[in-house]
């Protein structure tokens, strides 16, 4: 088999030999290392056989010495298949041209992709990248990604990191934006209460404190005013109804109020839960199917259409097929996965249920606290609940900073 394959690539000839001493011909040929194959006698002075293409030349010598004539009957093998191709010059030119054009086109950038622009304007970034020469149609060897990265970083102070890489014919620009500190509210601001509470301590840095310690405040109430009035002292206690804003407008100074107002803030959480926990858990058994969607029509290509499980949870992933980069065909691949679910029931004692419920309530309260706050008082009350249920009420008191900036609305008289 392997020899046949070799013979095909080297090429072989079927020859016909005519002469008196054919045995001598065969002996001489084999002693010269020219193997003959499939030799068969055709009549008295005739012989037909096959010989490798590279052995034919020395065979002619043998034929002369044994006084026999040789004729080629058939040519076969790869070298002879090539003959018509050798003549067609345009075919060769075309093949070379194809490779050359492919190579030339492969050394161009065919798509520019920018990822990671969240706050930055993507359009502007594209414009910027294009002006650096990283455009569709650019010649790849001319692109210095390092330099472009540096230039982009220098031009955009909002950027933390830039990565530019060439993947085949697509240029990928990865941006990582800086995480900036939260931008303060511009213009004059008041400090208002973020939550209801009883004020414990007021620390005014900038502005005019308008609440006293011990005062009960509600959400949205002004705590530190961002509007200072230079004039009369009686205006310290704000009472907007009694004042004419036109008169006072000149004396008003707008500032950004700063300060902390620590207050005791009450929280209440009521949670109810059955003693025995019931629910559904995935068993780990997964099955699914693949569908092809073409417009409105759908076709199942793999798996069964219906879930084999009585109780299940399903997820559907739609994959639009793209032929090449942005070229899309209106065919979607839909993958549906069914995950088997199994009901479970966890028996607990009443005490256990209460303990977990209390912990849940505590966590819930903690989540709504502002940073730096601490819980100063906490009471848990077990409330009556339906049969097989437990109910817990947690009252907590937190000591926290409730001041929150709010822009001053200048059209409204201060108050």
């Amino acid at each position: 088999m392997l020899r046949q394959w070799w013979l095909f690539w080297l090429g072989f000839l079927r020859i016909r030999v005519e002469g008196e001493n054919l045995e001598k011909f065969i002996n001489l040929a084999s002693s010269r290392g020219v193997p003959l194959f499939d030799v068969s006698r055709k009549g008295g002075d005739r012989l037909s056989g096959q010989v490798r293409l590279d052995g034919y030349r020395s065979l002619r010598h043998v034929a002369r010495r044994t006084n026999s004539r040789m004729r080629i009957e058939r040519r076969s093998g790869f070298p002879f298949l090539l003959v018509p191709f050798k003549r067609r010059r345009s075919l060769w030119v075309g093949m070379l041209l194809f490779v050359a054009v492919l190579y030339a086109l492969a050394s161009l950038v065919w798509s520019v992709e920018i990822t990671g622009a969240v706050r930055l304007d993507k359009q502007a970034m594209q414009e910027q990248v294009r002006s650096m020469g990283l455009r569709v149609g650019a010649w790849k060897p001319l692109i210095d990604t390092r330099q472009a990265e540096q230039a982009l970083l220098a031009a955009n102070p909002e950027l933390e990191w830039v990565g530019i890489k060439l993947e085949g014919t697509s240029l990928i620009v990865e941006l990582q934006e800086k995480i900036l500190p939260s931008v303060p509210v511009p213009g004059a601001t008041h400090m208002v209460a973020a939550k209801d509470g009883v004020v414990q301590r007021v620390l005014v840095l900038v502005g005019q404190g308008v609440v006293e310690e011990g005062a009960t405040v509600v959400r949205g109430q002004q705590l530190i005013a961002g509007v200072l009035k230079q004039e009369a002292k009686e205006q310290e206690r704000p009472d907007p109804k009694g004042k004419e804003p036109k008169e006072k407008a000149e004396e008003m100074i707008f500032v950004q109020a700063k300060g902390e107002v620590w207050a005791k803030v009450p929280y209440q959480v009521r949670l109810n839960e059955p003693v025995a926990l019931e629910g559904k858990l995935p068993t780990g058994q997964v099955s699914g199917h693949w569908r092809i969607k073409w417009g409105e029509r759908e076709m199942l290509i793999y798996g069964s259409g219906k879930s084999p499980y009585p109780d299940f949870d399903q997820s559907v992933t739609v994959m639009p097929l793209s032929i090449w980069r942005n070229l899309q065909i209106p065919v979607e691949l839909v993958k549906v996965e069914f995950r088997e679910l199994r009901p479970f029931r966890q028996e607990r004692s009443r005490e256990e249920a209460l303990a977990t419920l209390t912990e849940q309530a505590r966590q819930q309260i903690r989540k709504s606290l502002s940073p730096g706050a601490r819980i100063v008082k906490e009471t848990v009350v077990t409330e009556p609940a339906a049969l097989g249920h437990v109910q817990v009420r947690m009252d907590a008191e937190a000591y926290e900073n409730i001041a929150m900036p709010q822009p001053v609305d200048r059209s409204v008289p201060p108050g």
Partner: protein, 94 residues
């Protein structure tokens, strides 16, 4: 007496140990027949006569004659011959 017997035994053991195939030692032909269809002959010294029904091949100590029908020399190498066809007889001529 005991000495003679020991010598004989040693000779036998040695000849068994240095068992060299006869075809390599004496340049004798080695024929492998697969049914009556294929015959492989190693150590040939040339073809004397070649016809469709009769083949004579020169070997070290004589000739081998193959008689059959539609005999085809499948391969001819300096040391090896492969004959295909319907082989009827194989004669060893001295």
């Amino acid at each position: 007496m005991a000495w003679e017997r020991g010598k004989l035994r040693l000779q036998r053991a040695l000849s068994g140990l240095l068992d060299i195939p006869k075809d390599v030692m004496l340049d004798l032909p080695k024929v492998t027949l697969t049914g009556n269809v294929v015959m492989v002959l190693e150590n040939h010294h040339g073809i004397l006569e070649y016809g469709e029904s009769r083949l004579r091949i020169l070997v070290a100590d004589g000739q081998i004659e193959v008689v059959g029908e539609q005999l085809v020399l499948k391969t001819i190498l300096p040391e090896e011959l492969v004959i295909e066809g319907r082989i009827a007889q194989l004669n060893y001529v001295r």
